[in-house]
């Protein structure tokens, strides 16, 4: 018996002319964590779907426990012990934890009647596999993403999983939750289960994985042990270009602050927040989920209404009651959730870019489509948004390019303060670098920027000053060289 649990040789797959996988070799060893890394669109998901039987390979061989598997179907994959936990977790939010855990085995056993006791036993057995404790009767939809994920893992274990594949499991998790997830992963690994992680966060790859497979443009460019791999090499494998983290060095910070926040409080969210923001600086506000960082940002944009405290713009006290008011004060806000808050996906790229600039482009309430497209094209070119026609809908673009639309929307207006909430969530490294470089450039041109993020690496690279929030209060402030991930982590928890 070879050392591999799953071995794939020369896998090839094309979709109507697009070569998604080009003779890819891949292997997973039992009791190890394999990370499948690569930028969006590199073929990661296609490979996973071939393993899980959703797609059929055009060419190549797949061995599972040394047996050649001719044809994989989803049912066959499950029987072999392959379980995929997708990003949406495939749960029933309206059912309880117990029902979610037990429903699959009930269906497989083809039972027609419900036996609460048997369901409970199945559920308890599942939870005990990773020693996880949660209210069995809690509605799935009310749980945090982290809890949902653990329930999904428990459910996978019920099928005697030998290989668990997790599709970007850390995307919606806070650092603390990621740590908890990684503890569970290590526990599973020790019991001999192979784990396959799909992701593109460099820090996490180094933290959790034993082996790495890096894919780029449908080919695997690296397959081997994580140990001994250099960070910059990994990034090079993923992006195909050398990427250096350019730390932001403010060039001209204004003497007078453009925005002052004085003892601002919002019941149940944040309390007694004071800070000053100058032109030309990038201020980071970081904190865990629920620390009040998002609510603070929304208050600056008129979507939350603080019950006490003052906001002062250019020396004058202002009340920001609506986004329109924030906009007329030259404050822009790039929201946390690009898909639901940032974009009209089914509308053209150009119309999205100009959504906040309609006043500038119109005359007496009238506007021409040509004007919108002409103006938007400037941003498409400047930002290198990958599209051949700005008349195409926003949903034809990848996450990184979509985020560029949301940014250009605000840059197309006249701004003094730009608040970025999680500016690069779900964006791959290449686009992330573009966005960071652009924000640096804007700050040096005199824009005051606030970055709200729990991606500490991002905060460290981009911010000239950082405020750390915890339970609605500012618990630390650091500047320049003092901004390190360790320093922030020390006070954030």
């Amino acid at each position: 018996m070879s050392e591999y649990l799953l071995q794939m040789k020369g896998i090839d797959k094309s979709f109507s002319g697009v070569h998604a996988l080009d003779h890819v070799d891949f292997a997973v060893r039992p009791g190890r964590v394999m990370c499948l890394a690569g930028e969006n669109g590199c073929g990661k998901s296609t490979l996973v779907k071939i393993i899980s039987g959703v797609y059929t390979r055009d060419e190549g061989e797949v061995y599972f426990e040394d047996k050649l598997i001719e044809h994989i179907t989803p049912a066959e994959a499950t029987r072999l012990g392959i379980q995929v936990i997708y990003q949406d977790l495939s749960i029933f939010p309206n059912l309880t934890v117990m029902e979610n855990l037990a429903i699959n085995s009930e269906i497989t056993a083809n039972r027609k009647l419900v036996n609460k006791k048997r369901w409970e036993e199945t559920a308890k057995e599942a939870l005990s596999k990773i020693g996880y404790d949660i209210d069995l009767y809690a509605k799935m939809g009310t749980l945090s993403v982290a809890d949902k994920q653990l329930v999904a893992i428990c459910r996978a274990l019920l099928f005697n999983a030998k290989l668990i594949i997790m599709d970007e499991p850390t995307t919606a998790l806070t650092k603390k939750e990621v740590d908890a997830l990684f503890r569970t992963v290590r526990q599973l690994k020790e019991s001999g289960i192979a784990i396959m992680f799909i992701g593109h966060k460099i820090e996490e790859i180094f933290e959790i994985s034993d082996d790495v497979c890096v894919m780029r443009n449908g080919k695997n460019v690296f397959l081997g042990e994580t140990r001994g791999l250099e960070r910059k090499d990994l990034i090079y494998y993923m992006t195909g270009r050398e990427i250096n983290d350019d730390f932001f060095v403010p060039k001209n910070i204004s003497e007078k602050p453009v925005l002052e926040v004085d003892k601002l409080s919002l019941k149940n969210h944040f309390d007694d927040i004071s800070f000053k923001l100058h032109k030309g600086e990038i201020l980071g506000i970081t904190g865990l989920l629920g620390s009040g960082r998002t609510e603070l940002a929304l208050s600056l944009f008129g979507l939350e209404h603080p019950h006490s405290g003052k906001i002062i713009m250019n020396g004058r006290e202002v009340k920001i009651k609506s986004p329109q008011q924030a906009q007329s004060l030259k404050i822009g806000y790039v929201p946390e959730d690009r898909l639901t808050e940032g974009l009209c996906l089914a509308q053209p790229i150009a119309d999205n870019i100009e959504l906040s600039s309609l006043k500038r482009l119109s005359k007496g309430g009238l506007i021409k489509k040509e004007t919108i497209y002409r103006d938007a094209q400037i941003w498409v070119d400047k930002f290198k948004i990958k599209t051949d026609d700005a008349r195409k809908n926003a949903n034809t673009l990848s996450g990184g390019n979509q985020q560029k639309i949301v940014l250009s929307k605000w840059l197309a207006t006249d701004l003094e303060v730009l608040v970025l909430n999680g500016p690069t969530v779900g964006v791959d490294i290449g686009a992330k670098q573009d966005i960071h470089a652009l924000v640096h450039e804007l700050a040096n041109e005199g824009l005051a920027v606030i970055i709200i993020s729990d991606d500490l690496a991002e905060v460290v690279v981009n911010c000239s000053r950082v405020l750390v929030m915890k339970a609605g209060r500012i618990v630390g402030e650091m500047e320049g060289k003092d901004i390190t991930e360790e320093n922030i982590r020390e006070i954030i928890m």
Binding site: C344, A346, Q347, S356, G365, K409
Partner: protein
Amino acid sequence: MKDIKKKYGYTFMLLGLAAIVILFFTITKAGAFWKADVWKGIMAQFPEYGIMTLGLMFCFICGKMDMSFMMLADFATVMAVRHIVQNVTPEMDNGAVGGVIIVGILIALGIAVVGAIINAMLVTQLNIPPVMATISMQMVWLGISTAITRGDTVTGLPVLYTEIGHKTFFNWLPLPMILFIVIFLICWFILKYTVYGEKLYMVGSNEKAAKFSGINTTAVVLTSYILCDVLATIGALVMVSTMASAKADYGTSYVTRCILILVLAGVVPNGGMGKIINVLITLITIQIIATGVNLFSNLNTYYASLIWGALLVIVLILSTFMTDEGVISFKKRGK
């Protein structure tokens, strides 16, 4: 060429549908169908609910629904007709009667605006789902106007008013048709060239994102309801003129008919999409079917309803096979 095909693919499909319908009646009722009277009838009949459909279109593009427009319009016209009937005396000359009529029309439009504001407030300020909010308002308006009229028909309109619905120019162009054309052009202009039109599609596509972009979404929704209810009332004023009376529940079948036309035209209440030209083509097709069915002496008018429903189902089934942009899509946006 490919662009045109993509952009107007659905329009071509609707034109094809219209051609099939016309061809069908030409073959089966060759002599009777191509007569001036038939086409005069078509032009005389669809303007009243055509105007209503154009109004509801704004609500749909905005991603909202208005079930109350007909009952609100009935209430508005009942009040208008009561005002006219009570104030017009036989001694009055045409100028004085015209004055009373204008006041009556203004009363109706005022009521429509108030109803629209109530709808918009329920939807935007209290976050009640549009269908629920407007169904409730529908019953409220029906209740009020039935109570006022005791369920009776209000009659006694002066000739000057009833003429509106029956007047024709050059012996073939009805006045309501002219009104419809004017309103159609205004609506087309609003959608294509105004900032409101631009905002309308964006709000309909993703209200939250529009809000986060500094758009006053409440104002956009309110404007849409006002356009919807005011146009519905204008349609009802024409209807009242042709019927020479007003009643609390006139035109109830128009609610489903307007929705059917819009969905068939690819303007679905999910919001953010739809072309006004498609609405026009669908409107005319639907009326041709209704008139054509009447030519068969052995069929009653309800067969038109059957054909409309069947057409809608067929189009919906076809559209699930077409995934291109611009085609009806009931998939939830954003994912």
